[in-house]
């Protein structure tokens, strides 16, 4: 191959497809409405609660959001939804996150559980759960990981065994975020032969208040309680709580994951820390601080456009599995690096044991940021998905 040659991309190679985000009509009016809502209704929160706020739960606040029509925004009205445009929902989400609003109680149900029920559920299931989710009264959790199945999700072992007009389940889920608050779990269970892979999995709706369910807290390294172990002891699930056909669980889970991976929460978990750093820097910081603020702004601005482009793909009905994996991995790397960069560049006398907002935000985020590239698909899984799209696997 000589230096005068033409590049031709391998046929099997797919890369990030950029779709411009055309703001829906009335975008800025909608932002003003959300900001006004927050000014009136956001509970007074201590600085650390504004960080990573999509895992900070507040029942009362979620109920108010539901009443204001900011949950289930794009679902049909007959199920309690508001039939808004998907990009209007995107705008509301990023406004809530930018303000550090405590949206953790309903986040999973709005993002994942509801859309899954809407897409694959029966009419009965939709009527039973969706209006309560939309009202900010029923919260969800995702029963995927098990003690022996983390990234290798296809190895899920907990079995649902046919029993009359339903199923019997004994087993365990783990790392289940929000299970201690949720009334509803969407569980991925094995209905096929033991030891099987993708093909023998089915999704079920589990009432977490049913007899046979036990939820136990797992306290994280910073002392927080987000995730749990959930035990099933001879739990009975009626067959009408099965979601989709028997054996379709894997297909449905895969579709669900692209909804999970490209949202603004994948790069904004440390936004409160960034703002506090800019505030503390004041009007005349030194050149190093100015450069850091510039660099982080450029990365954030870029990630926002990547996330919005992917939202536009989802809104157009395309399958942005690759784009979502790229947004999540790049966004997680950014939000994970941010506390380290702030720590390195902060005033030399910044004391992590002090009560200043910057110190408390930083202390919390240094500790919880390792989870950013674990939750919702590890960095290694995402890079595998990207490599497959590139035509390397």
């Amino acid at each position: 191959m000589s230096s005068s040659t033409q590049i031709s991309a391998p046929q099997s190679m797919r890369t990030f497809r950029v779709l411009p985000f055309t703001p829906p009509p009335g975008a800025s009016g909608l932002r003003q409405q959300v900001r006004a809502f927050l000014a009136d209704n956001m509970p007074p929160t201590d600085a650390p609660y504004r960080a990573n706020s999509w895992t900070v739960g507040d029942r009362e606040f979620s109920r108010k959001l539901g009443q204001a029509g900011y949950i289930a925004m794009i679902w049909p009205k007959q199920y309690g939804g508001h039939e808004r445009h998907p990009l209007e929902r995107y705008i509301v989400l990023e406004e809530l996150l930018a303000a550090g609003a405590p949206v953790g109680m309903h986040w999973i149900a709005d993002r994942q559980s509801g859309p899954l029920i809407l897409r694959f559920g029966t009419e009965k299931q939709r009527m039973m759960f969706l209006p309560r989710i939309a009202a900010g009264e029923l919260f969800g959790c995702i029963g995927m990981s098990e003690p022996g199945s983390g990234s290798d999700l296809a190895s899920v072992r907990t079995r649902a065994i046919r029993d009359g007009d339903g199923w019997r389940v004994s087993g365990q889920k783990v790392w289940t975020t929000n299970a201690h608050n949720a009334g509803l779990m969407i569980a991925l269970l094995r209905t096929g032969e033991p030891g099987g892979r993708q093909e023998g999995l089915t999704q079920f709706l589990i009432d977490l208040t049913a007899p046979g369910v036990t939820v136990r807290p797992i306290i994280d390294l910073a002392g927080g309680h987000d995730f749990n172990e959930v035990f099933f002891d001879d739990l009975f699930i009626p067959d009408d709580m099965r979601v989709g056909a028997e054996g379709d669980g894997w297909k449905q889970v895969t579709a669900e994951l692209s909804l999970e991976r490209s949202g603004p929460e994948r790069y904004m978990s440390c936004f409160a820390l960034f703002l506090e750093m800019v505030r503390r820097a004041g009007p005349t910081p030194d050149a190093a601080m100015t450069a850091l603020i510039g660099r982080l702004s450029a990365e954030m601005w870029t990630l926002r456009h990547m996330s919005m482009s992917t939202a536009a793909q989802l809104a157009a009905g395309n399958d942005p599995t690759l784009e979502a994996a790229i947004v999540k991995d790049l966004g997680n790397s950014f939000e994970q690096e941010l506390p380290r960069l702030v720590q390195a560049a902060a005033d030399a006398d910044l004391d992590l044991s002090s009560n200043e907002d910057l110190a408390r935000l930083l202390a919390l985020l240094l500790q919880i940021s390792p989870s950013f590239s674990l939750r919702g698909g590890t960095r290694e899984i995402l890079r595998g998905i990207i490599a497959r799209s590139l035509g390397l696997r």
Partner: protein
């Protein structure tokens, strides 16, 4: 992408691909083909004899120029023609390039001083330069001397000296460094994609330890990160060019952010491309260097990371933390 834009990119892709195979031929032969195809007048309105394209069309064309490592000052010529039109100056005959750096005085319509870092200044007929808010059009034939220089990619970056050279001129409030950064961002986006494609093709073909090296997980993950960086530059570039359409070329925030993000991506892209290729990629004969040497050069041109991080940081600090989010969203809404 609309139909007009795909006709444009099809034509650009075919022509630039052909020219890439002829890169050893003389400059004038190659430039004439690009000029005859009308690309330099891409951003000049149809009413003024141009193509009537938008900045987002310029992104698509210049990305392809970067993809094919086009050895011609196309971005510079597009920019020069746009500047002349916007400042109500007449288009001038022959290749018109731009001056990244100017030193000297402009008195009574005459320029005395030097322009430096000029892309293909020696081959050009005219140079558009910006001096203290005045756009001046220098005729290269008026220069008293020319010092040829090259950037690390062997692209001409000449210095020309002038004494009392008569120059058409007009007041101009545009930041030429920013517009130069904008065109380099599109070229970096294309060159990153090409280096990625070439690296993936090579990884699938090169066999070691009994299998294509692309089957090794370490390479897969490194190439995945490369693809993320290429995606970031392409997305940032498109967003900055869309902002240039919206703000008629004056998109200080978006251009600063996009060039800085592009600069940051160059390090990852070039190092991974060379690591994947091994020794063959380090040779003159193999074509990878036509991309990577340009990427290293373009990272410095029209503002390195330091310049743009300072300028962007200054903007954010001046607005204050409380206004950050409102400003960011306001610029992308409506």
């Amino acid at each position: 992408m609309n139909d007009d834009q795909s006709l444009l990119t099809d034509a650009a892709g075919r022509l630039f691909g052909d020219l890439a195979l002829r890169r050893e031929e003389d400059f004038t032969t190659l430039w004439t083909l690009v000029e005859e195809a009308g690309f330099p007048l891409l951003l000049v309105p149809e009413a003024d004899g141009g193509f009537g394209g938008r900045w987002r069309d310029a992104f698509a064309v210049l990305r392809l120029a970067g993809y094919h490592a086009l050895p011609l000052p196309l971005g510079e010529a597009i920019l020069a023609a746009w500047l002349l039109n916007r400042c109500n100056l007449a288009q001038v005959e022959g290749l018109t390039t731009i001056a990244p750096r100017v030193e000297g005085v402009f008195v009574e319509g005459r320029f005395t001083g030097s322009v430096a870092g000029v892309p293909w200044g020696q081959e050009a007929a005219n140079i558009v330069a910006l001096l203290n808010g005045t756009l001046i059009v220098l005729s290269c034939g008026d220069s008293v001397s020319i010092e040829p220089h090259e950037n690390p990619a062997a692209e001409a970056r000449d210095t020309l000296h002038f004494e009392r050279a008569l120059a058409p001129n007009a007041p101009c409030g545009i930041d030429l460094t920013a517009l130069g950064a904008l065109i380099r961002t599109a070229q970096i986006a294309g060159a990153m994609d090409a280096a990625l494609a070439q690296s993936i093709a090579y990884a699938n073909e090169r066999v070691q330890f009994g299998k294509p090296i692309g089957k090794f997980q370490t390479l897969q993950h490194n190439l995945a990160v490369f693809a993320e960086e290429a995606a970031a530059v392409n997305c940032a570039g498109q967003a900055a060019f869309a902002a240039a359409d919206k703000y008629d070329g004056v998109a200080g925030f978006e251009i600063a952010a996009a060039k800085l993000r592009a600069n940051m991506a160059v390090g990852v892209g070039t190092s991974t491309a060379h690591q994947v290729h091994g020794a063959i990629g380090f040779t003159r004969e193999y074509s990878l260097h036509t991309l990577t040497r340009r990427l290293w050069s373009w990272r410095s041109e029209f503002g390195n990371d330091r310049l743009w991080s300072q300028r962007l940081g200054d903007q954010v600090i001046a607005a204050g933390a409380a206004a950050f989010w409102a400003n960011l969203t306001e610029r992308s809404d409506a």
